[in-house]
């Protein structure tokens, strides 16, 4: 395969991987602090994207239209709104069920996901139909042989990268990050250290959900189209990514995200059969990985007290 095409595939893979990773990181953060899976995460991505779209429409009602202003307002609106939503979910759905079996939390958030998804479909104007999403980033591109390098893709990758690095910094270099990691390590000790457990949990959910909104906007800018269903798909993939990476490990989530995108791309390019099978292939590999590494690639320590 000629180099340009190869580069093109790598680019496609990177873009997908970045979106998956951003979603997966959310799952892993939540699991870290509360040992729960918040399955509505994927649909928070959707709602985030639609909030941003609404903000865009609003701006144009008001007669603004500078792409950069749009972009900033959309991101801020989406991320803040989702951060708030995330906190509400944590406070009123996830934390009350802490004593119940883990499955109940999984189910209640799955159902919440359905509520969010259906609400977008039913209550957003024409929410059942795919929505065009504005292309706000500069569209200039250079042709390198059969590889078409677009500025907007590069910008999105860079932005995504920055967010991930920023998150790393937040977790490893700041007091807040220390507190989050302490809670993730051991709730009791964290409490005794005088850390406000509830507050930390809420903040973590806010951060994770904000990331989801970011991923949502990115998804919209990349495909220039969003629909109420994107969340289910992104959510499941993000979840799988976090799981194969190994829950509770940020690196695991990122690894998982790019791994999954890689699998899909490989599924398209190298496999003998039709490219449509790429998801079948990817999910089959996920199942295989679970059989091989039941607790993910970056193993999570589990010890049972007998």
């Amino acid at each position: 395969m000629d180099l340009g095409l190869f580069a093109q595939y790598v680019m496609n893979g990177l873009m997908l991987g970045m979106m998956y990773a951003l979603v997966a990181v959310g799952f892993t953060l939540f699991f870290g602090v509360l040992d729960v899976i918040k399955f509505s995460h994927g649909d928070v991505v959707t709602v985030g994207a639609f909030t941003a779209l609404a903000a865009f429409a609003g701006l144009h009602q008001l007669g603004f239209n500078s792409p950069w202003l749009d972009l900033v307002v959309m991101l801020v609106a989406g991320m803040l709104a989702m951060a708030a939503l995330g906190m509400l979910i944590a406070r009123y759905l996830v934390m009350p069920l802490r004593s119940a079996p883990a499955l109940n939390t999984l189910l209640i958030t799955l159902m919440l996901g359905t509520v969010l998804r259906e609400s977008v479909r039913l209550f957003y104007p024409q929410g059942g139909n795919p929505k065009p999403f504005p292309a706000l980033l500069p569209r200039n591109s250079i042709d390198l042989g059969s590889f078409n390098l677009r500025l907007d893709n590069v910008l999105m990758l860079a932005a995504g990268g920055l967010v991930v690095v920023g998150l790393q910094f937040l977790l490893n270099r700041t007091k807040l990050g220390l507190a989050i990691r302490a809670v993730a390590q051991d709730e009791e000790t964290a409490r005794t250290m005088g850390i406000n457990f509830t507050a930390i949990v809420l903040v973590t959910f806010a951060i994770g959900s904000g990331l989801a909104a970011f991923a949502g906007v990115m998804n919209g800018l990349y495909y220039n189209e969003i629909n109420f269903g994107i969340g289910l798909y992104l959510g499941v993939i993000g979840f799988s990514a976090a799981i194969i990476g190994g829950l509770g490990s940020i690196y695991g989530a990122i690894l998982g995200g790019f791994l999954f995108a890689g699998l899909q791309t490989i599924g398209t390019v190298l496999l003998p059969f039709a490219s449509a099978y790429k998801d079948v292939f990817a999910f089959a590999v996920v199942i295989a990985i679970m059989a091989w590494r039941p607790t993910g690639l970056i193993q999570e320590k589990i010890s049972e007290r007998v």
Partner: protein
């Protein structure tokens, strides 16, 4: 699993009731049905059809000479075969509903023909273009007022060849609709023998990311990308072509002839080709009348490409019931011999498969955000040029 469409909207219901009250001498109520996609990517076409059928019923109920009081039962097939079979079963199983105008999406129409046959429920298809819907079996219950996709693909292949394009890559959705387009287009193109197909890609109707397929197409570097599918993925594919810097002509079918396609793409829609059987609504015999009446009702959605056919189908059903009475068997018998019946889409004649023959094909190109007839477009006049147009 069990899914059914949305029933007629409350407002519509109210309207019917009011009319019922208004009617001086209370006539017998007769239920007739409409099925189309009211949600999902092609909803605008479904709603356009729904409104047109509703218009036919309203006008009839307003007509004092009408023998019966009609109530329109509307169900949503979401353009999904499984949902379509469920709503079709629901409607056909309801003995009070005499006949129906059904389906915009071929995938749903072909899935339901057996159901209608099983329940002996007479239907007239108003928008789906797959030939098999009428020709695969010989069901007395199934008829169609609009034409099939065969002629439009002939016209399509002819134009592509005339414009001097040599290589075509085909993308089609893997429902019977997309497969059908792929089949008939390939045949037509081969028959002319000027251009050849360099690659064919089947994609699922819910696919989001096409960069993989398009990257492979980019390697093949065709002059034209033929697309056999409906608006939603049409929009995605066209915009992702741009992402990958693919310059080829986007040559589509009747499946994207709707304003939603243009709204979804904005400037990117410019220069997309599309084809549709039947003359543009305003040029139909009853076109003026239809458009007038339609606008008078202040529906919040245009009739779209197939609205006129939906009106014609429903109007024919109503005429038949007026003539032979509300009895499925009798209706089927009467629709069995339809010859040169007047309608707003012109004279309708069903062949032995219940297929109306529509000769005219309209060629469209999108110019300045509008579907313009090719021959009247600046592309035909040479004022503008499609990529690589000779």
């Amino acid at each position: 699993m069990i899914r059914t469409g949305k029933i007629i909207t409350a407002g519509l219901m109210a309207a019917v009731l009011v009319l019922a009250a208004g009617a001086a001498n209370a006539k017998d109520k007769v239920k007739v049905g409409f099925i189309g996609p009211l949600t999902g990517g092609v909803a605008v076409n479904g709603i356009g059809g729904r409104n047109s059928a509703d218009l036919a019923v309203k006008l009839r109920n307003a007509d004092p000479k009408a023998k019966y009081e009609y109530e329109l039962v509307v169900l949503d097939d979401e353009c999904k075969p499984n949902v379509a079979v469920q709503v079709a079963t629901k409607m056909a199983a309801d003995k009070d509903i005499i006949a129906a105008a059904t389906h915009y999406c071929s995938a749903t129409a072909i899935a339901t023909v057996d159901t209608y046959h099983k329940f002996g429920f007479p239907v007239i298809v108003w928008g789906a273009v797959l030939p098999d819907i009428t020709y695969r079996n010989k069901y007395a219950e199934v008829h169609r007022v609009n034409g099939t996709m065969i002629n439009q693909n002939d016209a399509n292949a002819e134009l592509i060849s005339k414009l001097g394009y040599k290589t075509v890559a085909v993308i089609h959705d893997t429902t019977d609709y997309g497969k059908g387009h792929n089949e008939y287009f390939s045949k037509a193109l081969a028959k002319i023998g000027k251009a050849k197909i360099v690659g064919t890609f089947g994609v699922t109707a819910e696919q989001q990311d096409f960069t993989a397929e398009l990257t492979q197409i980019k390697a093949l570097n065709p002059d034209v990308i033929y697309f056999g599918g409906l608006t939603p993925i049409g929009v995605r594919i066209r915009s992702q072509m741009d992402k990958l810097g693919i310059k080829a002509v986007f040559d589509a079918t009747s499946g994207i002839v709707s304003d939603a396609y243009i709204q979804g793409l904005g400037p990117l829609a410019e220069g997309t080709l599309a084809f549709r059987e039947g003359a543009p609504t305003e040029k139909l015999p009853g076109g003026k009348f239809f458009i007038e009446k339609y606008n008078a009702q202040k529906y919040d959605n245009p009739p779209e490409a197939y609205g006129a056919f939906a009106y014609a189908a429903m109007d024919m059903i109503l005429n038949t019931i007026e003539k032979v009475g509300p009895d499925r068997k009798k209706v089927i018998d009467d629709l069995g011999n339809v010859k040169d019946r007047d309608s707003i889409v012109g004279k309708i004649t069903f062949d032995d498969h219940g297929q109306n023959t529509v000769a005219v094909i309209t060629k469209y190109v999108i110019q300045d955000g509008k579907f313009v007839e090719w021959d009247e477009s600046e592309y035909a006049s040479g004022k503008r040029k499609l990529p690589g147009q000779k």
